[in-house]
Symmetry: C2
Subunit: 434 residues, 2 copies
C-alpha cells in the first residue's frame, strides 16, 4: 500500500449523500444491494472485482467446483444501478476528522463510512505457521490448496522413499470448525473414491488425514448432537481426529504438537481461528479482542462519527451475546440488511431502529449423506440434513448461472463419485511485466 498517491480518485460528485462501503463480503454486499435504489450515492470498494461465497471454498480446494461458480462479478450485479460505483482497491486508513479514506488509488470523501472489512486467518502471532501453512480465507487460497494437493500426489508417485512419500500424501488440518470438518470430510471421500481410480499406483492406505482440534469437541458453536455427529462421521470416513490438541509450531516439514507429538507433512491447513482485518486511523478504544470493532445498537463504531461496522469485524455486545454475535454469514447478512433499512429510514426522516439478531440455526456437512443441522428447536443429521445443507447453500449463491452450474456439478459428482476438476492450472506470468 503506497501513500504516494494523494490525489482524489474519480467518483462523480453529486448532491446525494455518499455512503462508502469497504468490503463486498456477505455484509457489505447485502448492504449495497439494499441501497441500490436508495437516495444515497454508494461507493463499494473491494480488493477483488467479485463477491466470494466463503462456505464453498472447501469444494473449490477439493476440485469439486470451479472458483467461478462460487464467486460473482460485482459489476455484473450492479449493472442497472447508476448510483453505485465500484472500485477495486485496498483501503489503508481513514481520517475520521476530515471524513476521508486513503486507498492505493487515492483518497475519497465520505458522508457515511461502513466498514465491512471482514476477518482473515488468525495465526496467533506464530510467524512460521503464518508462512508455512495454507489458509482457506479466499478463493485464491482454495485454488492454491487444490494445486498443492494434486501436485503432491504426482510427486508421491515418483518418490520411492517411504518417509518422503508420507509427507506428500498426509495432510494435517488444524481447527475443528465447519471449515476443518468439511475439508477433512471431502479429503476422506477423495481418498476413498477418486485416488484409487486416478492413481492406481499409489497405496491408498498410506494416505492419512489428521484433524487437530484445540477444544474438547468439534463444531464448537453448535449443539452436542452436531459435534458428536461430525466426530462420528469423520471417524467412520477414516479421518484421525484428535481433540484437546494444540499445535505449537510448523516448519513446513513437521507439525509440532503440545506435549511432544509430531506429524511429518508438507501440507498443514490452518483453520484455527480468525481475526478482524485492520484499518488505520480508528481510535484504540474501539478495537476489541480479535481486532473486532465495538459497535452500538445502530452498528455505529464507538467513539467516532458517521462510521459503521458490519459483519465479522463488528462486535455488538449484549446480554444475550456478551462476546458479540458469532462471526458467521447469517449475522453479516442481517447486519447489512438492517443498516440499509436504517439508512432508508433516516433519508425519510424516520427514527432509526436497533439491531436484533434472529438466529436461524446452523449446519455443517461432512460428506455424502452426512451432515448436521441445528435449527431452533430441531436438531438432526444424516441424509436429510445433507439435502437441507445442499439446498440452503445452492439458493444462497448469487446468480442463476452459478446456481445452475453448481447444481449440475453436484448431480454429476453424486452419480459418479468423482469431482472431475483435478487440474493444476496457474495463470502464467509475463516475465518482463513492468
Amino acid at each position: 500500500m503506497s501513500e504516494k498517491i494523494q490525489t482524489k480518485f474519480n467518483v462523480p460528485e453529486t448532491d446525494r449523500e455518499r455512503i462508502v462501503i469497504i468490503g463486498a463480503g456477505f455484509a457489505g454486499l447485502e448492504l449495497a444491494k439494499r441501497l441500490a435504489k436508495s437516495k444515497y450515492q454508494v461507493v463499494l470498494l473491494d480488493k477483488n472485482n467479485y463477491h466470494q461465497f466463503q462456505p464453498l471454498f472447501y469444494q473449490v480446494a477439493m476440485a469439486g467446483l470451479e472458483p467461478s461458480s462460487i464467486v460473482f462479478p460485482l459489476r455484473k450485479m450492479f449493472q442497472r444501478n447508476k448510483h453505485i460505483h465500484i472500485r477495486v482497491t485496498e483501503v489503508d486508513r481513514v481520517d475520521t476528522e476530515k471524513q476521508q479514506i486513503f486507498t492505493d488509488i487515492g483518497y475519497l470523501n465520505y458522508d457515511y463510512l461502513v466498514l465491512a472489512i471482514g476477518a482473515y486467518t488468525n495465526f496467533f502471532g506464530n510467524e512460521s505457521i503464518a508462512k508455512k501453512s495454507i489458509s482457506m480465507k479466499s478463493v485464491g487460497e482454495a485454488l492454491y490448496l487444490r494445486n498443492e494437493i494434486l501436485s503432491d500426489y504426482e510427486k508421491a508417485l515418483i518418490t520411492p522413499d517411504y518417509d518422503e512419500r508420507q509427507k506428500l500424501l498426509d495432510i494435517v488440518v488444524v481447527g475443528g470448525g465447519p471449515t476443518g470438518v468439511e475439508v477433512c470430510g471431502s479429503l476422506a471421500e477423495m481418498k476413498m473414491h477418486v485416488i484409487p481410480k486416478d492413481y492406481p499406483e499409489l497405496n491408498v492406505s498410506e494416505i492419512e488425514i489428521h484433524l487437530l482440534q484445540g477444544g474438547d469437541s468439534l463444531l464448537a458453536g453448535m449443539s452436542e448432537n452436531a459435534s458428536q455427529g461430525a466426530l462420528d462421521y469423520l471417524t467412520e470416513l477414516g479421518v484421525k481426529v484428535q481433540l484437546n490438541t494444540r499445535v505449537e509450531d510448523y516448519d513446513g516439514e513437521k507439525v509440532y504438537i503440545k506435549g511432544g507429538q509430531t506429524i511429518p507433512t508438507h501440507k498443514m491447513i490452518w483453520a484455527a481461528g480468525i481475526v478482524g482485518n485492520k484499518i488505520k486511523g480508528l481510535p484504540e478504544s474501539c478495537i476489541q479482542r480479535g481486532n473486532r470493532l465495538a459497535v452500538n445498537d445502530y452498528l455505529e463504531v464507538e467513539g467516532v462519527h458517521r462510521i459503521f461496522a458490519v459483519g465479522d469485524v463488528a462486535v455488538l455486545k449484549s446480554d444475550e451475546y456478551p462476546y458479540g454475535h458469532p462471526q458467521v454469514a447469517q449475522v453479516a447478512i442481517q447486519m447489512g440488511r438492517f443498516l440499509a433499512k436504517n439508512f432508508d429510514r433516516q433519508s425519510k426522516g424516520k427514527l432509526r431502529e436497533k439491531f436484533a439478531y434472529s438466529d436461524k440455526g446452523s449446519m455443517a456437512t461432512v460428506g455424502r449423506n452426512k451432515a448436521v443441522v441445528d435449527l431452533p428447536g430441531w436438531k438432526f443429521k444424516g441424509a436429510f440434513a445433507w439435502l437441507v445443507w445442499l439446498f440452503v447453500h445452492l439458493f444462497s449463491l448469487v446468480g442463476f448461472r452459478n446456481r445452475f452450474i453448481v447444481f449440475f456439478n453436484w448431480i454429476v459428482n453424486y452419480l459418479t463419485y468423482d469431482q472431475s476438476l483435478r487440474l493444476i492450472i496457474r495463470p502464467k506470468q509475463r516475465k518482463g511485466k513492468n
Copy 2:
C-alpha cells in the same frame, strides 16, 4: 530443468514393449487413447496433468469459458487402462543410443519414443517482444490475458490522463491467423455488449482494437472467400485491421511498426507464428525450418532409430505438401491415429502403412453469427457457418461434463450477450513455500 536427478523414475517393468509419448496435445492424446488397449505399455508424459483444447483458448481469455471447461484431466481419461502410466514432467533430452529420455524427475528407457511435443510462440528472436507481449499457447496464458484485460479496465476508470488511459484500453493483436481473428472478434463484441453495462463510467469509443497482419490477407491458409469474409466481419465490428504491416518491436508501452508508425498500448497479443518445441540429443540433420522434425512416411524421425514425431513438431514433405502439412489440430489427430494403427499392425506382424492426410476443411469464427467455413468443394460464411463452427468445436471437446458446461455457457451468452465470468482470480502463494 535439472540434470542432478540421475535415477530411473518409477514405472512398472513388464514384458510389454514400452512406448513413451511426450506431450498430451491433440497428437499425443489421440495416440495414447488408441493405444489404450494395445499390447504395449504406454508412458504418457506432459508438463500438465491435463489435455488442453487449444481452439477455445481465446474464449477463456475473453471470460466466456472457464479453463476447466476446455481442459480434461489425463488421469481421469485413462482411469480404466492399467497399462498406461502418466507422469507430469518436462523432458530435457533423449539419448538415442541407449534409448533413454532424461526428465526433471529422472530418466526412463523406451522401446519406442514418440515426440508429440508441439510448438510454442515464435517471437522471431526478438527478446523484448518475447518478454513484454502476451501469447496464447496455453490455458495459463489465456487466463493471464483475461486478468490483464479486466485489471486494466479497472485502472482505466481511475486514470484521468487521456494518453495513459488509452494505453490501458487499447489492445494490439499481432497475427491474422485464426487466433488473432477470433481474439479481435470477441474483444469487439465485449466492447459492444459488455463494457457499456459493466463500466458505464468508461467512454466505449475510447477503446481501440488493432489487428496487425504481416501478409496481405487474413486467415492465410484458407480460401479467399474466408479471408475476405473475416476482414469484412472484423471491419463491421469496428476492429482496425492493417494488412501488410510488420511489427518490429514492442517495449511494453509502444508497438513499433515497420515504416515508422507506433501504437501506444500496455497489451500486445502476439499470435504471429509458432516454432517447434525442442528436445536435446537429436541430430542436427533432422531439425528443419521452424524447429520441425523431418519424418518419413511412417512418421519416423529421419536419421534416428525407433523415434517418431507427430503433430505440429513433425514435418512430412511430399509433392502435395512441399513444406509439410499445416500445423493444425486435424493433422495432429490424424497422425496420432495413424501411428497407433501402425503400432497395432506391427504387434500383429502385419506390414506398416504410409501416412496420408485427408483434409476435412477448416473454419474460423469472428463473432455471433459470423464465421467462415472452407469445406472441400463448399465455402460458406455467416450464421450457418457459425453454427457449424459451434457444433464441431462442442463435439471435439473431451468429456460429457465439459461439453455440457460449454454448451450451457454458450446458450446463456447467446441469450444475454454477456459472458459473466469477468473475474480476476489468481491462486494465492504461500510466502514461505520452500
